[in-house]
Symmetry: C2
Subunit: 452 residues, 2 copies
């Protein structure tokens, strides 16, 4: 009956999602401020059409938060669904095979920025809610909080949560912003990495210089920045920041085994990425490197002449964006401070260095024996016919730690994407099957969660 | 009489030069192709007004070459003046205090892209020629060859020279594209560095990846490029490319002494550049590092997300423009090959590396006891009241070596800029005094050169 309703409304569900995907809600780019709000208003509209009691656009210092709720009976449990309607910048645009904000279906996948991260996954909840309302199956209360700043660090969400504890009162958090191993191997993410995102600026001479007249006699800030970045890892792929690993929780042998029992094909992994060799911290597997080990990556670098042709310039400045993924029990504010101190200490006296912090988030681990996790596990069994495998995800959803801290609530990460969905990349996509089975699984979750 | 003519026509000379500077003849940027030609046509016009026998715009595969000549008497010696009318790109635009192509005079300096390099210095020759014609003082034949591709490697000049040896027949080359120590310490450049300009591309995964999902498990091409660039210098500031120094001519103790006798104030140098420490190859002075030692500088680097805000991307590609300044007797084609081999050898197997050569040029040393150099020396004495100091310049004018090889001609580098004129930088400028005294010195050079 649920299956039937979803099947017969699938095309409408998709066309609604497409309308939402056409709104370029890029939170990082101030030129899209208006589009971000449009995306919020679109969502408000869909919530009210789906039958919530109330829905509101809550202003913040940045982009707004959409809050909606349906209270069936105050005595019943309450599920709080979190997601985000903002998306990553689409560049490099030239690598998209179809325009990022003109969604299309190719071999049963939706191609568009935000298709998977996170509009597509949020919209499964909107349509699961509609389904339960239409079929009179909603067994408990539900609240929705969908923000517009997840891709830029959820700067204003903390304040909102602190100031609205009563409004957000619930029994469990449900988030669909993670990935499955595959449709054959459903999985539930039980761990997330934290984040410290930094930007650095290295300044040499007070102006761009002629590299012939000055080259060899004056430190080149690009060369210096490269040396400083190189110094952030040692020959074993470990990060050299003093104290960086102090709080890292090492897994037990059993935990490591469980983690590595997840199906993983290294050859397939390399083939899909077009690489012949992987690289990472010595002594750990790929699943451990992405799941339970902290990392440091340069996300962007620029300096000097980057245009067409050749310019013999010795630049005045060089810049880089550098982010670190954190694991339990690292604390992002502490790591940000350790990075800043260390990077400054790496600066030779012939340059000056500025270090700025963009944003951070805390790592999180969720329990696998909570009733909510068990309900999610059964829901997967209903729809996928298999018990989901608990996995660790390399990404970050800082809200999970925030929820625990501020509301004392656990989270279930009911994600339906694939790691290969190219989120944050050109040609982001999301399987239509994932979308449909996701809706079914969410409906089934409510059933098991409330079942006495 | 010469002084008077120049003084009474100075304002016109400057306003003509300003008209030329307003044409953005940026040879590196294809969008300015038309402007480059406009600048050539402007020059043709000024040559014919100044009284040459003939002037022509010679087509090449790239930007055209302006050739002009005045044959007084085939029995007399011939001076061949070389220069270039193309300019460097003006970016970063936001650092200019006045628009690069709207010349203005501020505290007796002309501010504009090309004011010194090389339109301002070329125009001294045009006006020196006009002066000699008007005052009936031209003592010999003169030819002018002004190209439009010097800032992008003079790709088509070699062919032009090879194919026009008769047309270019002369006794000496005169080039004004270098700098003086100061008006109090006039100097003549007797050595120039060569150049190899490379571009490299490092590719990791076949697409930009989410740095959370893949970070720590897949090599980041930006981090890898930084390590490779860092590996190009050792702890003594020496370049690590095998064979790089094999052909470098070491100076004799006497030559080093002469070179270091040139007035140089390190504190003033650092102060003017806004740095507290210099950096360079161990065991050499600043004048040696810029004058007689080869160098390697990153001229530009880019990769990943460089826009506003934060994007947690593990980029697919990273790029850099890297140039090397060469000294006698290094050969740019050989160095280009050594760099390519070495850079490829530095590539770890988890990335692929592409190395492309932009352009190169050979180093050159000019004699100080030729009659032409002596004539130049006397000309400086006439106008500056001091014997010029022979110096080595860090820049490159590949044409000097080319002329020697193809036409068997020596060059006199009669340059009137300052190292601090910010050529290739924002706020390039050229002293009005330098411009005026330059014209006087050029006129005086002809007198001494032809004097029996």
């Amino acid at each position: 009956m649920v299956k039937e309703y979803i099947a017969s409304n699938k095309d409408r569900f998709l066309s609604e999602l497409f309308d939402w995907l056409r709104i370029p809600s890029v939170s990082a780019d101030s030129r899209h401020k208006g589009d971000v709000r449009k995306a919020a208003e679109f969502l408000r509209e869909k919530f009210s059409q789906a039958g919530v009691d109330k829905v509101e656009i809550c202003e913040t210092k940045g982009h707004p938060i959409v809050f909606a709720e349906k209270i069936v009976n105050p005595a019943l449990p309450t599920v709080l669904v979190y997601g985000h309607y903002d998306v990553q910048p689409p560049d490099p645009l030239n690598l998209w095979t179809s325009p990022p904000f003109e969604p299309v279906i190719k071999d049963d996948k939706i191609y568009a920025r935000g298709a998977c991260d996170d509009k597509g996954q949020v919209y499964m909840h909107v349509k699961a809610f509609e389904t339960m309302m239409k079929l009179n199956l909603l067994p408990c209360n539900v609240k929705f909080m969908v923000e517009g700043e997840e891709e830029v660090g959820s700067d204003n969400l903390g304040t909102f949560v602190k100031e609205n504890k009563a409004k957000l009162k619930a029994d469990i958090i449900l988030i669909s912003d993670t990935a499955l191993i595959s449709l054959e191997h459903p999985s539930i993410t039980t761990g997330l990495r934290g984040l410290s995102y930094m930007e650095v600026e290295v300044t040499g001479p007070n102006r761009d210089l002629h590299s012939g007249v000055y080259g060899g006699a004056v430190a080149n800030p690009v060369n210096v920045l490269c040396s400083m970045i190189d110094a952030l890892h040692d020959e074993n792929g470990r990060i050299t920041i003093p104290g960086f690993y102090d709080k890292v929780a090492e897994l037990t042998a059993a935990q490591r085994k469980a983690l590595n029992d997840a199906p993983f094909d290294l050859e397939e992994y390399k083939h899909e990425l077009g690489i012949t060799e992987i690289k990472g911290e010595k002594g750990y597997t790929t699943l451990e490197r992405t799941g339970v080990r902290p990392t440091l990556d340069v996300n962007g670098i620029w300096g000097g002449y980057t245009g067409e042709g050749a310019k013999t310039v010795l630049p005045s400045k060089a810049h880089a964006k550098i982010s670190m993924r954190l694991v339990p029990n690292q604390v992002s504010t502490e790591i940000t401070e350790l990075f800043t101190k260390h990077f400054q200490s790496l600066a030779p006296k012939y340059v000056t260095v500025k270090v700025m912090a963009h944003h951070g988030g805390e790592p999180a681990v969720t329990s696998t024996d909570s009733p909510a996790y068990q309900a999610a596990s059964r829901a997967f069994e209903d729809v996928f016919g298999k018990t989901p495998i608990p996995t660790r995800d390399g990404g970050s959803i800082p809200i999970v730690a925030l929820f625990k801290k501020e509301l004392g609530l656990d989270t279930v990460l009911l994600g339906f994407g694939f790691d290969t969905d190219a989120i944050h990349s050109p040609n982001e996509h999301y399987g239509v099957k994932n979308f449909v089975m996701g809706i079914e699984t969410i409906v089934s979750f409510y059933k098991h969660f409330v079942k006495k």
